[in-house]
Each structure stands twice: as C-alpha cells, then as structure tokens.
C-alpha cells in the first residue's frame, strides 16, 4: 500500500477530483489494475474481515489482504493487526482529499464565524469523504461507533458550531485510544456541555438544584448502561460533582471549556459506594469519571455495544464476557478490547448477518465500485432521506445499530443504486464498465463483478436476475440486492 509518491494520475488539484473517474478508485493510490474477487460460495475469512472492519473493500483490497498469508485465516489476522495500528498505515491520500475542509483548521472560537448550514454541509462532506478514502478503515468505523455512543445533535444551541470541534478534537483523537481518556474528553467537550446542559448545571445558592441531564446520560448511556446498578441518588450526586463546568463566552477563548469555582457544589459526594471528599473542586469531575469509566457495568455495556456492531445485533453472552474482561484487564484500551473481540469464535463464525446502516451502505457502494464523489447535495440528500446524516440524531442514544429501524430505507437504497450506477448523480461517479472489465478475470459470474460486490460467488437466484437484467442496470441490481445490504 504505497504512499503519496505513488499517486500516478493525480492532477495538481489536491483533491484529485478532476482526474478521470476510473483513475480515482476509492482509497487506492494508483490507476486501477485488474483485481480478483472472492471465489468461494461462502464468505471467506478475508472477505469477512474486510466487511466488518471497513466501510467496504475497495478494488484490490481482497488481493492485498489475501497476499498477507497463504492461509486465509492468518491473512485476515494480519489485516486485523494492521488495522489495529492505524499509525502504521500511510493515509496521505485521505489527508489530501480532505485538506480543503477549512473548518478543520479553526479553533472552537473561530468556528463561530462560519454560517450554520455552511459548516454543517462541510462536516457532512468531510465525514463521507474521510470514510470513503481513508485506509485507516477500522479507525473510521470506530469514529462512527463513538460518535453514536457520545451522540451530539448539531442543532442544539452552540452545538451548531462546537460539534465540529467535538468530532475533530474528541472523537477522532481518541477513537482508537483509551476509553477513560475518551470519556474525560467528552465530559469537557464544549459541544457536550451544551448538548446535555452541563453548562447550566450550577450551584450558586444553597437551594439550587443541579441539572441532572448530563449526569444521567453519563451513567445511562456513556458508562454503566440503564441496568448498570446505579440509583437516582447516584445521578444526583454525580450531577453535584459536575457543577461549575461551562463554556467560555466573550472575546477570549470562546467555545473553550471552563470551570467556575463559584458555580460548583463544594460539599462531599457519595457515588456508587465511593466518596469524593469535600473541597476537590475542579478535580471532582475526573474523580467521578475514574469511578465510572472502568466500572464492571461499563465494561459489560461497552462490550455489548461493540459486539452488536461487529458480531450480531443480539451478540452471544460468551463473546460479550470475553470482550468485557479484556476491557477491564487493559484499563479500557480500545485496541486491546477490539482485538479480544476479533478473536472470539462468534466474530469468526457469524458472517454476513449484519444489516448496513444507510451511511455504511452509501460509503460501501462508493468504495467497492471505486467511485468518486464531491460529497455535495445530490449525494448527501440520500443520507437525509434515509434519516442517517451524521450529527443529525436528536436524542443522546445515537443512531440505532440494529437493523429494524432501517428496514424502510430499502426503496431509497434502490433509488441510489440506480442513479449512481447510471451516473445520474451530479458530482458522484463510477466507471461501471471499467469495473466490469477489470473485475472479470475468469468470467464475470465466476470470479468477476458479481462475487466482488457480493463477497462470495453468486447464488442461482442472483445469476438468474443478473442475466434477466437490462444492460446498464446490472451494477444497480447488485448494489440494491439483499446481499449488498448485509456485511
């Protein structure tokens, strides 16, 4: 996987969008060469790991991963190891493709100078392009996982501006790091202080009641989980410990977190059997987060959610237990926890049983077909129509992971597939003919475009539909098919 030097065919444009479409395949960095597709009737270990750890394999990925070892299982293991070490993967091209997003360079205070719609559109475009182009795919998948886990809706108050900083400085920075550090960063994130009302959780008079909103979601959604064994008293005590944190306004440091001693409740707090002594002030927050971030209920809750993302909507207990154990043993190390998950039998055995959410669906369609996109309105409107535009989910539980709420989006997926495959989406293209040609080594049905998109050899039903399908709509048929909705 070469670096920037290999960018043959890229123009002077840092984004490369003006080069012919077929030279710009997904996150590959050179013109597309013939590539092979899976040749098993069942999803093999390599396809399975590409499915689960990425937003879809780009042309050539299957060859690249298969080449890591003669044995498919060991090749998959080597791929997992690479993806768990994102710093070792050169991501220059993704960096370059996203350089134009000016907001990424600005301090939280400067972000307030952007227009609301302008900033939000940039954030959406950036998110799609990054997920499409990055070679650090597992990191991107985890960014989306934590974005939902620590959900912010960018329509509430100053979240309109501060969500951009939250995504960049909190979620992306810690997505593959340590859970306790990530949790601490989210607690002080100005967008979070706005979204869950931490900024108005103050105690200035004796009879002031704390605002419990963040404290409750911290326990219910961010750490212990709803049945995690906390009580209403724990929520109230946690809220007391968090009093005084707000977001700076005014000329200097606007949009930065601040702690105001005079708004803090300085008394002793008792939470989940622990005592935070009186007078710790500013440090109360970190002490509270230390109590909850590695609580056994937190381990179980995070493990359950991770297994739901990577194994099954209803993951088996044995896998959850193994992942939870490693979460605790590693002190919340996200990479070690993920490795433990990828080593469970359930992860290896349950293949092709997860339903792609709309964002995943769109990005995987772009990636597997080597498409290019400017990620503007004609593409983004499909995310809006399917109710899955990033930073738009109103409630703190984040977009659901399970299949059920997304089932009604299928007509839009077909609509997208047809328009995309017919190259009718302004700013978003693929070269389906070149793709067919290049992925047809050994005959189109046997080892070509069909198994490439389906991740396995086509079934009799799929072959029959393929032959009955008019020229020009075959790619749409594959992208709209049930198999392509699964991963």
């Amino acid at each position: 996987m070469g670096g920037a030097g290999a960018s043959v065919g890229c123009s002077d444009s840092p984004f490369g969008f003006d080069t012919p479409a077929f030279l710009q395949f997904g996150s590959t960095d050179k013109p597309l060469a013939p590539f092979s597709a899976p040749d098993h009737s069942e999803i093999c270990a390599v396809s399975h790991c590409l499915n689960r750890l990425t937003f879809g394999a780009v042309p050539g990925d299957y060859d690249r991963v298969s080449a890591l070892h003669a044995d498919k299982d060991q090749a998959a293991d080597a791929f997992i190891k690479q993806q768990l070490d994102p710093e070792s993967i050169d991501d220059t091209l993704a960096e370059r493709a996203t350089q134009r997003f000016e907001y990424l360079q600005h301090t939280p205070g400067d972000l307030y100078n952007f227009t609301i719609d302008g900033l939000l559109d940039e954030m959406l475009s950036f998110t799609v392009i990054r997920a499409t182009k990055s070679k650090r795919q597992l990191q991107e998948v985890m960014v989306h996982f934590w974005t939902d886990h620590f959900n912010i809706d960018s329509s509430k108050g100053d979240c309109r501006w501060l969500t951009a900083a939250h995504d960049r400085d909190v979620i992306r920075r810690h997505a593959m790091g340590s859970f306790p550090e990530l949790l601490k960063a989210t607690a002080k994130s100005p967008a979070m202080l706005w979204y869950l009302d931490g900024r108005v959780n103050t105690k200035t008079k004796n009879d002031d009641k704390p605002n419990e909103n963040y404290a409750r979601e911290l326990l219910e959604l961010h750490t212990l989980g709803v049945n995690g064994g906390y009580t209403q008293t724990d929520v109230m005590e946690a809220a007391r410990a968090l009093t005084g944190w707000g977001v700076k306004d005014g000329l200097f440091g606007r949009g930065e977190p601040e702690f105001q001693k005079k708004h803090h409740d300085h008394g002793e707090k008792k939470i989940l059997g622990h005592t935070i002594p009186a007078g710790a002030g500013h440090d109360d927050m970190d002490r509270l987060l230390d109590i909850v971030s590695l609580h056994p209920s937190t381990a179980n809750y995070i493990a359950t959610k991770l297994c739901a993302r990577f194994i099954d909507d209803a993951p088996p207990t044995a896998a959850v237990t193994a992942v939870s154990k490693e979460f605790l043993a590693s002190g919340g190390d996200i990479r070690k926890t993920l490795l433990a998950l990828f080593q469970t039998n359930a992860f290896r055995e349950q293949r092709g049983n997860k339903f792609k959410r709309p964002f995943h669906y769109i990005v995987s369609a772009l990636r597997t077909t080597g498409g290019t996109t400017d990620s503007k309105e004609p593409l983004l409107k499909f995310l809006h129509r399917m109710g899955h535009a990033p930073f738009h989910y109103p409630t703190p539980d984040g977009y659901p992971e399970e299949a059920t709420p997304w089932l009604s989006t299928i007509p839009w997926r077909w609509n997208f597939a047809i328009r995309y495959a017919r190259n009718e989406l302004k700013g978003t293209q693929c070269d389906s003919k070149a793709l067919e040609r290049l992925a047809s080594v050994g005959g189109i049905e046997k080892a070509g475009l069909m198994p490439w998109l389906l991740g396995r050899l086509a079934t009799a039903d799929e072959l029959e539909a393929w032959h009955a399908c008019p020229d020009g709509d075959r790619l749409a048929l594959l992208l709209g098919s049930p198999a392509f909705q699964l991963f």
């Binding site: 809006h384 129509r385 989910y393 009604s408 007509p411 328009r419 008019p470």
Partner: protein
C-alpha cells in the same frame, strides 16, 4: 384519482392513514391583519391606514373578521373544518426571525425538530413504516423535521420515482428479496416494490384534482397539490412540512403581504376542496414565528411583534371556533414595545393534534421541559 379505488396499503403491518401537514409562514405573519379584531376600536386607532375595515372583512363572528383576501377559507370555518387560535406564539422574546423560528422549529433549546421527535417517538417496533412517512416541500428539510427517522425533501412526487425504464430492475430486485432467507428482508422487499409501484402509478398520469378543485401555479399551491396527491395515493405519508415565505412586512405592508395572503388562501382552499372527505384524516396546521407590532409604522408597515394567529383545519377537530381571550389593544394590554401578548403557546395547539393522531405518543418526548396545557380542539 378517486380515493375509493385505492385499497392496498404500502406496508403490510401498518395502517397509519392520518397525515399532519405543517404550513410555516416564515418571516412573521401579521395575525392582526389575517384575522382582524374589527370589533375593537383600538385596532383602527393603531392602524388607521393598513387596518382591515369592518366593511371589507369577512366576519367570522361579531368581533373577528378574516382578511378579505382569505375569503375562500370562510366557508371552511362555517362548516366546522377550520378554527383559529389568536394571540398565539412562543415564549421567545428576541423578536429575531432566526431565533424565533429556530426555537419554534425545535420546540425550545432542544435537540432535533419537534416534528422529527414526534415521528421518532411514534416509530413502530417492527420498523415497518412507509419510506414516505415524512416529506418536506423544498430543497432542504426544515428544522422542524430534523431527527425524523426518515424524511425526504422533495419538489415533486417524481423525486421519489426510480427514474425512466426501471420497472425491470425493480421487479428483479423484488424477486431477489423474495428469495432472501431473512424474513425481515422478504417483508421489506415486498413493501418496497409496493410503494415504488404506487409512485409509478401516481406519476404516470397528469394529476387531476377532485371535487372541481384547481391549484394555482405558484410554489405553495404546487406543493400543496403534491401533498394532496401523496395523501390520496395512500403511500403512508404521516407528516408533511411546507413553508410559505415572505411575510416580513416592515414597509408598505399590503404590497408585501397581499400576494402572500392570496397564495395562502388559494393553496389551502384548493387543498381542502381536493381532499374532500379525506380531510377527516388530514390535519393542517398553519403557524408563524411571531406576529407584528400592533401600531403601523411611518412606512405603512409593521415591525416584529409577539402574538399572532394559527389556523387548524381538518383531522376531525371541532372547527368553527376562534380560540382567544381577547386582551384588548390598549397600552396596558400590550407587551414590550406595543405587541399583542402571547396568551396561548404554540405547543398547546400542536399537542392535542398529535395526541389525536397518535394517542400513545409521549408528548414530553416531543416537547420536553415545558408544562403542556393542550387546547381543547376536539370539544
């Protein structure tokens, strides 16, 4: 297309046939000139030039008269299909369009739009809901629909179509889903084909309005026509949002507002006529971010105020009523720089409508952090 011919529903396990249509008059519509308190002498004292005269007003009762340009709505009021809420608005006192619209669309400083949260709160457990459950007329979703489980901005019903010559690929996709080993995919595939076929039917012929209704050519009327078509086509539409912009009448108010009032009158009246009996399962609510200053300004316009009007049509509610405790227009009754007070919060107009459509909905999830006191719109 006579409604009786349409029998199938889009999703098999779902039979939601109620639709809420939200018309937002953006720019701060002058409630005092839409529904004028012609029985209050202070009204003419404050608006010697631009006031609606008792001679021209279409009287609704012995005190309030409709703007004469809204004459086609008067029969709807008389027949009990439409009611009026006066002195209504939000708690926002900024008198800023942006702030006031934002607060009203979201229902306070809350994440998501109120309509989006309502749709989320009524999400069926089996996920079987029409992909056309929520639409907005226009190019971008308005903030009130933000957070809806799925919502499409559209200009025309054609936006939903798969395009030219797509029957074959659609049917092949249907076959593949029918052969899926996963039951939920089989069901979803069937409903997808059903909804797309319905859209193909609807777009194949020129739309003919029922009951002799005829729509004007402007954007608002065209949008209302598209909504009517979706409702009559029974595609599972539950919420539609449409904006009518341009109500900011600081100068020469009649020149600014009259064309808007004509559009509102024409669009709403054609819609109700076209839907006919289907208005029983269709609720239309018309709202605006704030009203205008009571006293006309030196440029014969009005400045940003507080209380305005809302209209409710259909949905089986008890129409023919004006919900208002008129405060009077003397100096002591007005608020701020001389504005009609807000005596009814807009949420208390919306919540009885939502409750009627979805009796089980948790209204505190739709409008959190507000002590609700729903208006008795259903008698």
């Amino acid at each position: 297309m006579p409604e009786t011919k349409v029998t199938t529903v889009v999703s098999e396990n779902r039979d939601r046939d109620q639709t809420l249509v939200v018309v937002f008059l953006r720019g701060g519509a002058d409630g005092l000139n839409l529904v004028a308190p012609v029985g209050d002498d202070d009204y003419f004292g404050a608006r010697p030039t631009i006031g609606i005269s008792s001679r021209s007003a279409v009287m609704l009762d012995d005190f309030f008269g409709l703007n004469p340009l809204m004459v086609d709505l008067a029969p709807l009021y008389k027949e009990g299909i439409m009611s009026v809420v006066h002195c209504v608005g939000s708690e926002d006192q900024t008198r800023s369009h942006f702030e006031a619209q934002d607060m009203m669309d979201h229902g306070g400083t809350v994440a998501g739009g109120w309509l989006g949260r309502y749709l989320l709160a009524t999400q069926p457990a089996d996920g079987q809901r029409s992909p056309l459950s929520a639409v907005a007329i226009g190019s971008r979703l308005p903030e009130n629909l933000r957070g809806a489980p799925s919502a499409a901005a559209m200009r025309s019903i054609k936006d939903f179509s798969l395009g030219e010559n797509t029957d074959k690929v659609r049917d092949l996709l249907g076959q593949l889903y029918a052969a899926s080993p996963t039951e939920t995919l089989r069901t979803s595939g069937r409903s997808s084909v059903a909804v797309l076929k319905r859209i193909a039917e609807l777009t194949s012929a020129q739309y003919a309005a029922s009951n002799g209704a005829s729509y004007e050519d402007d954007e608002f009327s065209s949008g209302m026509r598209e909504i009517a078509q979706l409702i009559k086509g029974r595609v599972g539409l539950e919420a539609a949002a449409i904006d009518l912009n341009g109500w900011d009448s600081h100068l020469t108010q009649p020149a600014v507002m009259d064309p808007e009032i004509r559009r509102l009158n024409a669009g709403l009246s054609a819609f109700c006529k076209d839907l006919g009996k289907a208005m029983e399962r269709t609720t239309v609510v018309v709202m605006t971010e704030f009203g205008r200053r009571v006293r006309e300004n030196s440029a014969l316009g009005t400045d940003h105020g507080r209380g305005s009007v809302m209209f409710v049509l259909g949905g089986g509610h008890r129409g023919g009523t004006i919900h208002a405790q008129w405060p009077g227009l003397n100096a002591e009754s007005l608020v701020g720089p001389g504005d009609l007070p807000v005596l009814t919060n807009y949420r208390n107009v919306l919540t009885p409508l939502l409750k009627k459509i979805s009796p089980d909905v948790d209204l505190s999830a739709v409008f959190p952090e507000f002590a609700l006191d729903p208006l008795p719109l259903f008698g």
